[in-house]
């Protein structure tokens, strides 16, 4: 029981954390905020379902296709919509409003394209459970956990070791200096939005088999991912992971031992308490002004 709970908590935490990393990445790179991350996850799930179930593509190919498309979608939102707003001198709050509008468009668009029913994502593995140390665990949960860990490591090495990742960090810190060195700052910002959306979309594909795929699936996950990002220290990518795992554990263990009906009440009450006592989050983060 305990191991099952821990794996469940880690999986949930990884989901919140990865989607939350996207919020942090966008905030750090562009000083802006999106509220559409959850719906990016939902679109990723529907696209994955279409590729895997409807078109019969191999799972890995479906996942990769979703990542490419979601990256392009995130980049499009920043490069075309957000940039044109900012070019008109719009304030940050209009950009946030724009992302809420995008979130609505995505949800309703998904309803138009795929209908309003909960769709079942077919099982990816031939077996319904695997045995780990005597516990039966759904292999899709392990997949979600695995994809989460791989994505985190990949993002970490990309940001820390690759030239483009380093330039994204540089541009986030000092746009003027980065421009003067020949770094294409608009491109680094667009890439940050693209990566954030790609993370959410790929998580959508792996949670599809666990939660089912429906148009509202992203909203609650998106809010909890946002909460994770705030608790971890908004703008700190690694903080979001810690925040996500924190929420994953609270939610899983509250459901298991206290009440599953009011787990969100308790999770979000904790969010408010953390905000009051630690206004900069668990990890203090300095963000570009």
């Amino acid at each position: 029981m305990l191991l099952t709970l821990v794996i469940g908590a880690l999986m949930l935490g990884g989901i919140y954390g990865l989607v939350g990393m996207g919020y942090g990445l966008i905030y750090k790179a562009s000083g802006l905020m999106t509220l559409a991350q959850g719906d990016m996850l939902m679109i990723g799930a529907f696209l994955g379902l279409t590729f895997y179930k409807t078109l019969g593509l191999p799972f890995l190919v479906s996942l990769l296709l979703v990542m490419v498309i979601m990256f392009a979608l995130g980049m499009f939102i920043e490069r075309v919509l957000v940039t044109s707003l900012l070019a008109k001198g719009a304030q940050t709050v209009y950009v946030i409003l724009c992302t809420i509008a995008i979130s609505m468009l995505l949800q309703n668009g998904a309803m138009f394209a795929w209908g309003s029913n909960v769709m079942q994502f077919p099982s990816i593995f031939g077996v319904s459970s695997v045995n780990i140390l005597g516990y039966e665990i759904m292999p899709e949960r392990l997949l979600a956990l695995g994809v989460g860990i791989v994505a985190m490591l990949a993002l970490h090495f990309f940001m820390q070791k690759s030239k483009f990742g380093t330039s994204m960090r540089a541009a986030a810190q000092d746009e003027l200096a980065a421009s003067a060195l020949g770094i294409n700052v608009p491109l680094t910002k667009g890439a940050a939005w693209g990566i954030a959306s790609m993370l959410a979309g790929s998580i959508g594909v792996v949670v599809g088999p666990i939660f089912g795929v429906y148009t509202a699936m992203g909203s609650l996950i998106g809010q909890k991912a946002f909460a994770s990002a705030v608790v971890g220290g908004y703008g700190n990518m690694y903080g979001a992971i810690v925040g996500g795992i924190f929420f994953g554990f609270v939610e899983t263990f509250v459901s298991a031992y206290v009440t599953s009906l009011y787990k969100d009440f308790i999770s979000f009450a904790i969010l408010i308490i953390v905000m009051i006592f630690m206004p900069t989050g668990l990890f203090k983060e300095q963000v570009m002004e």
Binding site: T166, S179, A180, L181, I183, N184, V185
Partner: protein, 239 residues
């Protein structure tokens, strides 16, 4: 000698404010040219406009290595070899010294030449080699200035524009910075230098321009400017 950089009648507005009212200047191969003037005269605006960091200019032309570059994007201009050390150093504090220098070479593909430039920069500033893996934010002001200069050199530029490299530094460190400027120039780098420390700037420069209220009011050899009575009175502490 051929002209590396030539600016013709450059005008720039910050909104309604007419900040640059027809700046014309040029830098030839191998030269150090300085632009001196009071705070707010338009020195920084001039350099940033040349680098394309301020967006569109109002009118005028900027020619670099025989090519017109005004109103091009800043990263395109930087790629052509026009490097700038910004006022206030602007190092990436959260990146290591090494990463800062790598960002200088961001656009370059010639790995062997980049490695040679790393050696050149570390030879110029041995202190940076000692601090290679340290975060730039932990360096002293003088070291950050060295890093800013080194980072610009990593671009392998055709000209180096420096905005107030001595600002806020201790007198001994300022001496170092100016002897570095001389050495970089002796190694063949043309330099366009902006300074409030006009005396020191004119001493390393071949020629100078005096800017007042967005206009060039005087241009001459650095030696003549150093002895010019008006310049002495206004910019050299009246000695």
């Amino acid at each position: 000698m051929s002209k590396i950089l030539e600016v013709k009648d450059l005008h720039f507005h910050y909104g309604e404010i007419h900040a640059l009212k027809g700046i014309s200047l040029d830098v030839e191969e191998g030269e150090v040219v300085t632009l001196i003037g009071a705070n707010g005269a338009g020195k920084t605006t001039t350099l940033r406009a040349l680098s394309g960091l301020l967006g569109r200019i109002t009118s005028g032309e900027v020619w670099f290595m025989g090519e017109r570059i005004d109103n091009q994007k800043s990263h395109v201009i930087a790629a052509k070899g026009l490097a700038q050390c910004l006022e206030g150093r602007h190092v990436f504090g959260n990146l290591t010294v090494r990463e800062n220098l790598e960002m200088g070479a961001y656009l370059r593909k010639d790995a062997a030449a980049v490695k040679k430039d790393f050696d050149y920069v570390f030879d110029l500033f041995p202190r940076l080699l000692e601090r290679e893996q340290q975060r730039a934010g932990t360096l002293s002001g003088g070291e950050q200035q060295m890093l800013a200069v080194g980072r610009a050199l990593m671009q392998s530029p055709k000209i180096l524009m420096m905005d107030e490299p001595s600002l806020g530094l201790a007198p001994l460190v300022i001496q170092d910075i100016f002897s570095t400027i001389k050495r970089i120039n002796a190694d063949g780098m043309p330099i366009l230098l902006i300074e409030q420390n006009s005396n020191a700037a004119l001493k390393v420069a071949n020629r100078g321009y005096v800017i007042e209220n967005g206009e060039i009011v005087l241009k001459d050899s650095a030696a003549s400017l150093l002895t010019n009575e008006d310049v002495k009175k206004a910019y050299l502490g009246g000695q």
